[in-house]
């Protein structure tokens, strides 16, 4: 049995004529912090959306915890229009198209590149609501307050998460009234409330200054240890990626162009050409 928690095999996502992700194969090892980098529009967020059930990949397989969770192959009109590779390979496989909540229930939680907090809710309620998925109450016991112990557990754990993120003092404020950096933290707290094994972070340091970025990196390592997590993140801040990640995958135009340790990636000519070179210009 391998140590990979998440495995993508030839995942392709084609929108109309645009191949956003092209035969992407990669592995995220249990307990590691892994980065996915690439220029703007490379298909990183799309790859995340395939993993989390937002999109059904046009082709390819995704397994989590040694279990096949997503499987797709071209069907109908797409059979003719398909531009990616391996078009025949998975035709005999049954299509598995889970909804995002089914994926989250398996233990994959995420944050969003464009923050998506629930805007009418307080900071506290944002995290508490994410606890709903693992709530033991049914609608009857919840409405008539017949399982107070469960409600108390959810509230206590929510408070602990907020304290861990230094958000406790804002608990009654509207989530959207927080400064940007704290909103990102709240999104992480909310994702953690679903008790994930794998946490997907989409540009967690976007809009942060170098100091904040550094703090965020340390914080990610901290929660990774504390919650026994595996972390897979999209990030543009190279210093963060180089310093805190165990492994880096680089994609460009939907294709994987490199994968390896930070040191290997730093010296990879293709990466420098496609990505780092551009960034340094």
């Amino acid at each position: 049995m391998s140590e990979a928690l998440l495995r993508l095999e030839n995942v392709t996502m084609q929108f109309g004529g645009v191949v956003a992700v092209d035969s992407l194969s990669l592995e995220v090892e249990t307990g590691k912090i892994v980065a996915l980098i690439g220029p703007n529009g490379a298909g990183k967020t799309t790859a995340f959306n395939c993993i989390t059930g937002v999109y059904q990949p046009t082709n390819g397989l995704i397994s989590f915890d040694d279990k096949l969770v997503v499987s797709g192959h071209p069907t109908g009109k797409m059979k003719r229009d398909y531009k990616g590779s391996n078009s025949e390979k998975y035709l005999d496989k049954e299509i598995i198209d889970p909804t995002p909540d089914e994926i989250t229930r398996l233990g994959i939680a995420r944050t969003f590149q464009n923050i998506r907090l629930w805007k009418s809710m307080s900071v506290f309620d944002n995290v508490l609501t994410a606890k709903h998925m693992r709530n033991r109450q049914n609608v009857f016991t919840a409405t008539f307050r017949l399982d107070r112990a469960e409600e108390k557990r959810m509230r206590q754990e929510t408070m602990e998460l907020l304290e861990e993120q230094n958000l406790a003092q804002y608990k009654d404020d509207l989530a959207v009234s927080l400064p940007y950096g704290l909103q990102r933290r709240l999104e992480i707290a909310r994702a953690l409330a679903t008790d994930p094994k794998l946490l997907l972070l989409d540009e967690p340091a976007a809009g942060m200054n170098p100091q904040e970025t550094l703090e965020l990196g340390e914080f990610i390592v901290e929660i990774q240890k504390k919650h026994n997590l595996t972390i897979f993140m999209i990030e543009h801040h190279m210093d963060l990626v180089m310093r805190f990640c165990d492994k880096i995958y680089v994609i460009d135009f939907g294709k994987l162009i490199a994968g390896g340790t930070p040191a290997e990636i730093k010296n990879n000519q293709r990466v420098i050409d496609a990505y780092l070179g551009v960034a340094e210009e």
């Binding site: 909804t99 995002p100 939680a109 907090l117 609501t129 609608v139 509230r155």
Partner: protein, 375 residues
């Protein structure tokens, strides 16, 4: 987590206010003649409050736009009337004049009322399965269509033995004939209907403040985030739709009790729009707003503005005050409300002890600020 002292105190204040309100109703019913229009207004607004709250649960708290309210109320009203009407009346010729009634049993008032909700909920479940998987705009169209179809179906001759066709159903237990169990003591009708509707609204309120209510609000605020946090969209939308329709059914049954009779033709789309208007005026996402809204709506429409329709009120010989003028003024008032209260009277706030206190404190500090400017 334990409640803070302040929260406890606020809860006690709220309970006292509600208790005092019901005592006031009891006293009014004992003192004021029962024929006074106030009671008819209060009874009708109690029924409409429940209808509006159930619509608000779906439209305001789950973000699903449905226009089937009248249809579900019709189902509730008919279910209640048919089940509760005494068997000998059904078999006689005074109600079912042209048909032979096919239902040869009757039920007490409470089971009939509950089944009124259940039947409406079952229909909602059936409509919800195909429709709620689609984008939410379809729900409005599907429910509007459903309400129209169900009204036509209930007037259909072939169903006459059950629904009495397009004719009136009557003879079931109405609000004036509710007794305390095992006694002959009648419960004051206004108090009774307000109590029943109040209990139902309280249940909705409890639901909204539970984990499931939070999930509904998450779906309303951001579906994509809700789904990503493990909330099954279809399951929760269906749940909200079923519960909302259950209470719509109950409110339909209460409307039947209030009106003494049931007729399919009264449950037109216009009724749905009235209730929608109440929800909007009161505030989308505010339960207390829906209750206040329905009282104001019904009192204005049927009481306070009635003088406008009386043709004896001629001013300067102008004969503008004729029947129908009331509707003009009424529409103007609604426009003004919508203009000045963009989010309805209550917005998405509730009428709670805490909010009232903050509101008063806010007014005070506003005054202080203004006073400061002057000095």
């Amino acid at each position: 987590m334990t409640k803070t002292k302040e929260e406890k105190r606020d809860a006690i204040i709220a309970a006292c206010c509600i208790g005092a309100f019901y005592v006031l109703i009891l006293i009014l019913e004992a003192v004021v003649p029962a024929t006074h229009i106030l009671f008819s207004i209060l009874k009708k607004s109690a029924v409409y409050s429940l209808a509006a709250v159930s619509m608000n649960l779906l439209n305001g708290f789950t973000g699903l736009f449905s226009l089937g309210q009248a249809g579900f109320m019709l189902l509730g009203a008919y279910t209640y009337a048919i089940l509760n009407m005494p068997t000998e009346l059904k078999l006689g010729t005074s109600v079912y004049k042209y048909y032979e009634c096919a239902i040869h049993f009757d039920m007490g008032f409470l089971p009939s009322l509950l089944l009124a909700g259940v039947i409406a909920a079952v229909f909602a479940a059936l409509i919800g399965i195909p429709v709620l998987r689609l984008k939410s705009d379809y729900l409005a169209i599907a429910t509007l269509g459903f309400a129209e179809i169900i009204r036509a179906v209930f007037q259909w001759e072939a169903l006459g033995p059950v629904t009495n066709g397009a004719n009136i159903l009557s003879g079931f237990t109405d609000l004036n004939h509710i007794y305390i169990p095992f006694t002959k003591i009648a419960i004051p009708p206004t108090f009774f209907v307000m109590l029943l509707s109040g209990i139902c609204i309280a249940i909705v309120l409890l639901l909204i403040n539970s984990s499931f209510g939070r999930a509904f609000k998450a779906i309303r605020d951001d579906e994509i985030a809700a789904e990503a946090m493990g909330i099954n969209l279809f399951k929760h939308k269906e749940m909200s739709f079923i519960i909302s329709s259950f209470f719509a059914g109950i409110s339909g049954a209460l409307l039947a009790m209030y009106q003494f009779t049931v007729k399919a033709a009264t449950f037109k789309t216009a009724m749905t729009y009235e209730i929608l208007l109440i929800v909007v005026i009161g505030g989308i996402g505010s339960i207390s707003g829906s209750c206040i809204g329905s009282f104001l709506f019904i009192a204005c429409n049927e009481w306070w503005l009635r003088f406008l329709d009386e043709s004896s009120n001629n001013i300067a010989g102008l004969n503008i005050f004729r029947s129908g003028f009331r509707k003009v003024v009424f529409s103007l008032i609604i426009m003004v409300i919508v203009l000045f209260f963009r989010k309805g009277l209550m917005g998405d706030k509730e009428l709670t002890a805490k909010n009232v206190r903050q509101f008063i404190a806010g007014k005070k500090s506003e005054k202080k600020a203004k006073g400061g400017e002057k000095a």
